[in-house]
């Protein structure tokens, strides 16, 4: 996003930016720090500017990735849904993406409120890849990864995945993968470790198919190991049809 000469310097837009990219200086007036801006469009869409000085310039690679990962209305060509991740557990009643005995992880870098860069995502992906996890093939970030190592490919569709790409900042990434339930605690240890190495925060999701009676299979493991979790979360109610036929051991 940019601000043009119509700006009257009222600074009303500054608090609207979720990543504090709009700045004011005596000699420069109000401007958007381009390295910090994630192209989420909140400043423009909030219609806060009385002079209509905020505008969306045309974005080229890799800057366009900021909008792709930060704007809610952009539809990824791969997932054909808006947003940064997949349907994940939301449609598990239809897709059978997470089966009994498996656990899914969503590692949401930059959430809440801090933003993240591709280099952070690569560091985390490389750490969890050592466990032989199965990266979600429909997740838009996975297309840039060597899924064996978690490292970014050298290029994607002719675009270099270089240093400029790695420094690109977005609102949030979601690294999605699944593994066997018996590997859950080891993977969690790795996640805790790599979280200390990144320059942002990450919110961690744990997905599991409920047992036939609706109970949560990993709950006792989390409790035994003293792993804290929020009292609230998401529950797929199982209304989806055609229903995937799960097999329980």
């Amino acid at each position: 996003m940019k601000i043009d000469e119509k700006c009257i310097g009222c600074r009303a837009c500054i608090p609207h930016c979720p990543v504090a990219a709009i700045r004011y200086e005596e000699d420069e007036g109000v401007y958007i720090e381009q390295d910090e801006c994630v192209e989420c469009g909140v400043c423009l869409n909030s219609e806060v500017c009385p002079a209509e000085a905020i505008y969306q310039p045309e974005l080229s690679w890799p800057r366009v990735l900021r909008a792709v990962w930060s704007s809610v209305v952009f539809i990824h060509p791969e997932t054909r849904t808006q947003g940064r991740g997949t349907e994940e557990m939301k449609t598990n009643d239809v897709t059978g993406r997470f089966k009994p005995g498996e656990v899914g992880f969503g590692l949401e870098l930059g959430r809440p409120s801090t933003g993240a860069r591709f280099e952070d995502a690569e560091r985390v992906a490389m750490a969890v890849a050592r466990h032989g996890v199965e990266f979600e093939p429909m997740n838009p970030l996975t297309r840039y990864l060597d899924t064996e190592t978690g490292r970014f490919l050298d290029s994607w569709q002719g675009h270099p995945l270089d240093e400029e790409f790695r420094r690109t900042r977005v609102m949030t990434f979601i690294i999605e993968f699944k593994t066997q339930q018996e590997k859950m605690l080891d993977v969690l240890e790795t996640i805790k470790g790599v979280a200390e190495e990144i320059d942002t925060v990450m919110s961690v999701d744990l997905i599991t198919k409920c047992a036939e009676n609706g109970s949560i299979p990993v709950k006792h493991i989390l409790e035994e190991k003293g792993i804290e979790h929020y009292i609230n979360g998401k529950t797929c109610l199982g209304f989806g049809k055609p229903a995937y036929l799960f097999k329980y051991e």
């Binding site: 608090p15 609207h16 930016c17 979720p18 909140v42 809610v72 209305v73 539809i75 054909r80 849904t81 808006q82 947003g83 349907e87 557990m89 939301k90 449609t91 598990n92 009643d93 239809v94 897709t95 993406r97 949401e108 809440p112 409120s113 801090t114 429909m138 609102m171 949030t172 979601i174 805790k192 942002t200 925060v201 990450m202 919110s203 961690v204 999701d205 744990l206 997905i207 599991t208 198919k209 409920c210 009676n213 609706g214 949560i216 990993v218 804290e228 979790h229 929020y230 009292i231 609230n232 979360g233 998401k234 529950t235 797929c236 109610l237 199982g238 209304f239 989806g240 049809k241 055609p242």
Partner: protein, 230 residues
């Protein structure tokens, strides 16, 4: 994405915060197969018809690649206005702050048998109780294990309670803090401030009723109180 997960708050506050979200899986379509649903727009419209029968505190529709790209209660839109713009891939959700209303919605959704995948976000105990009372067995869960990493970058606890109600990250912590200052200076009412915050949430997942409660607490608390514990 998991935009209704990771909402931070005390139990009492979270017990007035439930989100119902409907989705027609497009996984088969992506595999090159026939889509699972042929009348998605109609099903999503019926889902929202049911939700609006039970007075959601916020609700919204995202219309990808359209203009306007979203309509929500917090932005001042009515269901009739949202209904006119419905598309096959419209993202639809509704927020409830009342457990009794929530049970009625679930009951109606069960009876309507739309075949859409429906996710309920909220306090697990309450969700499980609602499932039991309405004859449902929870299918799959997504559990929030908290925030890791550079937590020193996070705002204080109350501000986090506000901003985590927009999982897309579009409600700015700086706007929340700015509005608290304006409420204290009698420049805006708490209700107006909650609505102002909610207007930046594009999908309608922001619970404006709960935001009003949290803002009221923030106005009464000394600045800097409430350290974030992730």
């Amino acid at each position: 994405m998991t935009h209704t997960l990771h909402r931070i708050g005390d139990r009492g506050s979270l017990e007035r915060d439930y989100i119902l979200y409907a989705l027609a899986s497009n996984v088969e379509l992506l595999k090159g197969n026939k889509p699972a649903y042929e009348n998605t727009k109609e099903l999503l419209t019926k889902f929202m018809d049911i939700c609006f029968r039970h007075r959601p505190v916020n609700a919204g529709c995202i219309y990808p690649s359209s203009s306007p790209y979203s309509k929500t209660i917090a932005k001042g839109n009515t269901w009739e206005e949202m209904r006119q713009e419905m598309l096959d891939y419209t993202e639809t959700l509704a927020v409830f702050d009342d457990r009794e209303n929530l049970r009625k919605v679930i009951d109606d959704l069960r009876e309507s048998d739309l075949g859409l995948s429906i996710v309920l976000s909220g306090v697990f105990d309450e969700v499980y109780e609602a499932c039991e009372e309405t004859g449902l067995t929870p299918h799959t869960v997504n559990i929030a294990l908290g925030i890791m990493g550079k937590k020193e970058l996070l705002p204080e606890r109350r501000t986090l309670e506000i901003v985590t109600m927009c999982g897309h990250g579009l409600v700015s912590q700086y706007l929340a803090e700015d509005l608290v200052r304006k409420i204290r200076a009698n420049k805006i009412s708490v209700e107006e401030a909650a609505k102002r915050l909610g207007a930046n949430c594009i999908c309608g997942a922001f619970n404006t009723a709960r935001a009003t409660e949290i803002l009221t607490l923030m106005v009464g608390e000394a600045h800097g109180s409430g350290e974030c514990d992730g």
